[in-house]
């Protein structure tokens, strides 16, 4: 499982304040905490706090000062990426592009140049997809276009677009069915990722819903997730789901081994 730690995001008040006040300690401590929890990538999201590339670069530098993990750069603005990607010590994950031609044509050259990876959202000009078929169509576009730029399927993380369960209950099955079909695109298949917490938006059982849906997604091919990696129950459920899917070899201490 590829765990992308979501916590360094200005959507969280402490991170927002840290960026505004240039308080490096908050950023660094989240980098350390998520690294210790077993993250594979650390997502860095400047959000709407600033539109200055140097602010995003500052965040990345703080993260890299505290952790050796590769960065997931959470922006869809090529201007930002051109400054941020060269700063990364390890090939980053760029989060994200949609299946819109213009967008892909602006982002994919950067991915190819830096041997990075990219999250491809299965949505297009028409917005969020309503059906599994539309998700598959958009994902197919993303993969085909990526390959034109010499990007391998392993560098592409397809996101079926998770919708809130509470408001769009019928969508969950479409998401699962879409993800399941992404697996058939190529061998080896592209990664399948999602921004998990969207599923539980507005609910009173956020952690339980996140965890349940995550496990169901793994059964449908999910192998990467943007989530709260410090949520031990969630991570343990995902590790277990990978065993159930025979993606990892079982050992009695599989949970401890992940954290050692």
């Amino acid at each position: 499982m590829i765990f992308i730690g979501e916590r360094i995001n200005t959507g969280f008040k402490d991170v927002k304040a840290a960026v505004e006040n240039k308080d490096a300690d908050v950023i660094k401590s989240w980098a350390v905490k998520q690294t210790e929890a077993g993250a594979t990538y650390l997502d860095v999201n400047l959000g709407a706090v600033s539109s200055k590339p140097e602010d995003l670069c500052w965040m990345i530098e703080q993260v890299q000062a505290a952790s050796d993990l590769p960065i997931s750069i959470d922006t869809n603005k090529p201007v930002m990426l051109k400054e941020a990607v060269p700063l990364c010590k390890k090939p980053p994950l760029i989060n994200s592009t949609t299946a819109v031609d213009e967008k892909m044509e602006a982002m994919f050259p950067i991915v190819a140049e830096y041997n990075a990876s990219i999250v491809g959202l299965a949505m297009d000009e028409a917005g969020s997809p309503k059906t599994a078929d539309k998700r598959v169509e958009n994902a197919g576009k993303l993969l085909a276009k990526a390959m034109e730029f010499g990007i391998n399927p392993e560098q592409l993380f397809l996101d079926p677009i998770v919708m809130p369960l509470k408001y769009m209950q019928e969508q969950a099955q479409e998401i699962l069915s879409g993800a399941s079909q992404f697996r058939l695109f190529s061998d080896p298949p592209p990664h399948i990722v999602c921004g998990l917490s969207n599923i539980a938006n507005g609910t009173t059982q956020k952690k339980l819903i996140n965890r349940t849906f995550a496990v169901m997604l793994v059964a449908n091919g999910l192998d990467a997730v943007i989530c709260d990696v410090t949520d031990e129950d969630l991570v343990n459920a995902l590790l277990t789901a990978e065993l159930v899917m025979n993606k990892q070899i079982y050992a009695d201490s599989y949970i401890e081994a992940f954290r050692s």
């Binding site: 391998n152 392993e154 080896p188 070899i249 079982y250 050992a251 009695d252 401890e256 081994a257």
Partner: protein
């Protein structure tokens, strides 16, 4: 039409493990032996890197094992002396390493003392200049007494010491850490325990980059296919990025084959099976060659003809 590239791209290499230490490295070996480092499955040279060929360790024991005469005669009188046997393995059979098993320490057998075992280790190290794989007798309680002395006698020689199991790994880790040896991690034909032993070794502070996995070995006809699939599955997991399974693997082919009826009993008992003198070494060579395909990096072998045959196979496929 362009032929599509169907080669597999794996994500991680197998660990590289070096056994033995030269004078410069604090030992007395003439050369070291390195295994592992592959980025693809065995012999698929078109698909990835295979920087180190599989190697053969000559089977030597402190006491002659309970073997059929065809094997003892093929080796000669040297089978009675671990020193001479080891020398013959190196000089005549051109093996890459010596695997010394202290079967004489077994309480049910000779019950040799730790001192006596350590002396054998020292003598063998003096007699040959290839790296050494060192095993206790397999009885945990006795090995806990024998292995520390033997390890001490080989201090600085960077031996590969076996074996660490779920039940005794702490002792083996302690001696290998203090005397700077590598470890053989053993599991009883069970990939889950195999992974668990590696987790335990790692938790005990031993670097898995200094570990060779031993999934135990089965002779053809006696669970061979189980062991084959375990070796292969472990190797695939390692190449896919499972760091707990990325260790090179060792097979004790000589130690297993010469215990089964097909390699022990002649035509008079098994009519139509052919002469044992030919069948025995064939059985050993066949098992060894197939384990190479499964992902074995070190083969422990006994019969000179079988060794010769498998050396040629390695040469041919590498």
């Amino acid at each position: 039409m362009q032929i599509p590239d169907v080669s597999e791209k794996w994500t991680a290499p197998i660990n590289t493990v070096t056994i033995g230490a030269t004078k410069d490295q604090g030992g007395t070996r003439a050369k070291t032996v390195t295994v592992g480092g592959q980025t693809t499955l065995p012999f698929l040279t078109f698909e990835g890197e295979l920087p180190h060929k599989p190697v053969i360790a000559g089977f030597v024991a402190d006491t002659p094992p309970d073997w059929p005469d065809v094997l003892k005669q093929a080796i000669g009188k040297e089978v009675e002396s671990p020193v001479e046997w080891a020398q013959k393995c190196v000089q005549d059979y051109k093996v890459d390493l010596i695997s010394l098993k202290l079967v004489g320490a077994a309480p049910a057998g000779k019950d040799a003392s730790p001192d006596a075992c350590a002396k054998v280790v020292a003598d063998v190290l003096k007699a040959v200049d290839v790296p050494l794989v060192l095993w206790g007798c397999g009885d945990d309680e006795k090995d806990n007494l024998v292995l520390p002395d033997c390890s001490q006698a080989a201090k600085g020689e960077n031996c590969l010491i076996g074996s660490a199991k779920e039940t005794n790994y702490r002792t083996v880790v302690a001696i290998c850490k203090s005397d700077k040896h590598k470890i053989i991690a053993e599991a009883p034909v069970d990939i889950n325990i195999g992974k668990q032993v590696n987790i335990l070794l790692q938790d005990a502070g031993f670097d898995l980059k200094d570990v060779v996995m031993f999934q135990t070995t089965a002779a053809l006809g006696y669970g061979f296919d189980y062991v084959y699939t375990i070796l292969e599955r472990a190797r695939v997991a390692g190449l896919k990025g499972d760091k707990l399974m990325a260790c090179p693997q060792i097979c004790d082919v000589g130690g297993e084959v010469w215990r089964i009826k097909e390699a022990v009993v002649d035509e008079d008992v098994l009519p139509g099976w052919g002469k044992l003198a030919k069948r025995g070494p064939m059985w050993e060579a066949t098992c060894a060659s197939v384990y190479l395909q499964a992902g074995a990096d070190i083969l422990i072998m006994a019969h000179p003809e079988a060794i010769k045959n498998v050396q040629a196979t390695i040469q041919q496929f590498s």
